[in-house]
């Protein structure tokens, strides 16, 4: 089996997520070749074939041109799978390659399973097992679903070039807006509820959020009491979030709050009340006093 992995390069940097493609190919047990529109100064640490096109000439976002480069590499390599990350680069480019080759595309793979690939659907609530009906297929893999692999070595470079008179012109990047807090994009959210007790205890929750590399959220009563600003509010009247980990500290689980966070991948709730409604959707309910448990957990995580 052979894969052609399509690496990513943005704002002058090789993206680390490219190593997840290697992790995926490794799980698949496939031979790998890689294609990168990048620079010789930053090469992936792996020892296979690397089709390299110069980013200075081909641009970081020029899907028409990048497609041509990929098609050329496909012709040379005849891979079974052409693999992208399911990213703004990957989902933009992958269907163009698949369409040009008239082959199947399987999007946002979360696992390799018997009989095909498992993909998420219905906003992550359900899964589908999808099987390409064509000999070759384009795949995109979910970010973070496969381990980062850095096998070491240095690639064997084959240079590619192409020209494109396409109707698309990339103008440049625009920096992210600075926000007080952007819960929608946070992977970890630690939220404070009334069970925190008083405004002075808020830093305890913020400390756990920081230790876990996430943001602090809050339930509505906490925001209403002005312990934290409204931008932290999770729930139907605040932000609807779906982080990888949601830690609810002293939140009993009013319906408005639950509706805003129940799609989180993993939910840990800390509450004195064993029967608090949050227990119904939490993966783990820790029955404890928030002000005793949270500082202890923060200390352990920080270690």
């Amino acid at each position: 089996m052979k894969t052609l992995l399509i690496g990513e390069y943005r704002e002058g940097k090789l993206l680390e997520s490219t190593c997840e493609l290697l992790g995926f190919a490794n799980q698949l047990g496939a031979e790998t070749a890689m294609l990168l529109v990048g620079s010789e100064n930053q090469l992936p640490v792996y020892s296979g074939t690397l089709y390299l096109a110069d980013v200075a000439a081909c641009g970081e976002y020029n899907p028409g041109l990048h497609k041509k480069l990929i098609l050329e590499a496909v012709q040379k390599e005849s891979p079974d799978y052409i693999v992208f990350l399911h990213s703004s680069y990957g989902w933009d480019l992958a269907p163009r390659v698949a369409a040009s080759l008239r082959i199947a595309q399987v999007s946002e793979i979360v696992a390799i399973v018997d009989g095909g690939f498992e993909v998420g659907c219905c906003n992550g609530k359900m899964r589908r097992t999808v099987k390409p009906a064509t000999a070759q297929a384009v795949l995109t893999i979910q970010a973070g679903a496969f381990p980062v692999l850095q096998p070491g070595g240095s690639p064997e470079i084959r240079k590619l070039s192409a020209t494109d008179g396409g109707a698309l012109e990339f103008i440049g990047y625009e920096a992210a807006e600075k926000k007080d807090v952007d819960l929608a994009k946070a992977e970890v959210i630690v939220s404070a509820g009334r069970g925190v007790g008083k405004k002075d205890n808020i830093p305890v929750i913020a400390a756990l959020a920081k230790a876990l590399g996430g943001e602090m959220g809050a339930s509505r009563p906490v925001v209403d009491a002005e312990w934290v600003s409204h931008s932290h509010q999770v729930g139907t009247t605040g932000q609807t979030v779906s982080p990888k980990l949601y830690v609810a500290c002293g939140i009993s689980g009013a319906i408005q709050h639950l509706a805003g966070m129940k799609k989180s991948d993993f939910i840990i709730a800390i509450n004195k009340d064993k029967d608090a409604p949050i227990g119904e959707i939490a993966d783990v309910l820790v029955v404890a006093d928030v002000m005793q448990f949270v500082p202890a957990l923060t200390a352990r995580v920080a270690r």
């Binding site: 163009r96 589908r128 999808v130 009906a133 980990l245 783990v284 029955v287």
Partner: protein, 258 residues
Amino acid sequence: MKLLVCIKQVPDLESRFKPDAAGVWYNETDLAFRMNEYDEYAVEQAVQLREKLGEGTELTVLSIGPDRVVEALKKALAMGCDNAAHIQDPAASGKDPWQIASIIAAYAKDKGFDVIFTGMQSQDRGSAQVGVTIAEQLGLACTTTIVSFDYDNGTITAKRELEGGIKGVVKLKTPALVTCQLGLNVPRYPTLPNIMKAKKKEITAIPVVELLREEALATTASFHPPAKKGGGIVLEGDVSDLVDKVIAILKDKTAVLR
């Protein structure tokens, strides 16, 4: 100018999903359907462009599916689309993105649309393929995941949403297709006079057989809930024991401590 916006009707995601008899998609019983959220932004953007261009511009909304999708089409008409095309296909959910894109491309091929809008992906299947594939099949310029759109004299200036909140600014010459990300605009709530007017707008029904030329390139083997996370554990006891247990769970079940 001619504009097209492609929409899908999807189940509300609060619904409980159960596999259908064949086990490859959801059973529609007890599901509430609505317009795919991404598509609402696409419709709004299309309507805004339609309003900007004024007279002489025609905006068509298209959807593939069983009779229930007419509801979604009506909403798009109430939001300001001029007419609708309903590609009647009771078995649309069984078609792969390639087939769906092919059907739309077959419909659009000789109609000379200047700009086509689609959602970035559907909320139920989430493949993010259909829009780009239509563009490829029709040979249109295309960009995806836009959070800003501007049109001036044959050129679209769009901002793509990239990871980490960065945006990529792109210019496209029409004819072109864009796929719309959440937050692109604020989809309007149809006003009552527009809901009334929409009732009189034309919805052209086209049987899917007239447009379907392609075989599926991928098949769904099964539709199922994710493997159980072993959720619902209740931990009680001494604080330091609890901390140990939670640390173990975080390492085991999540990626945050890796």
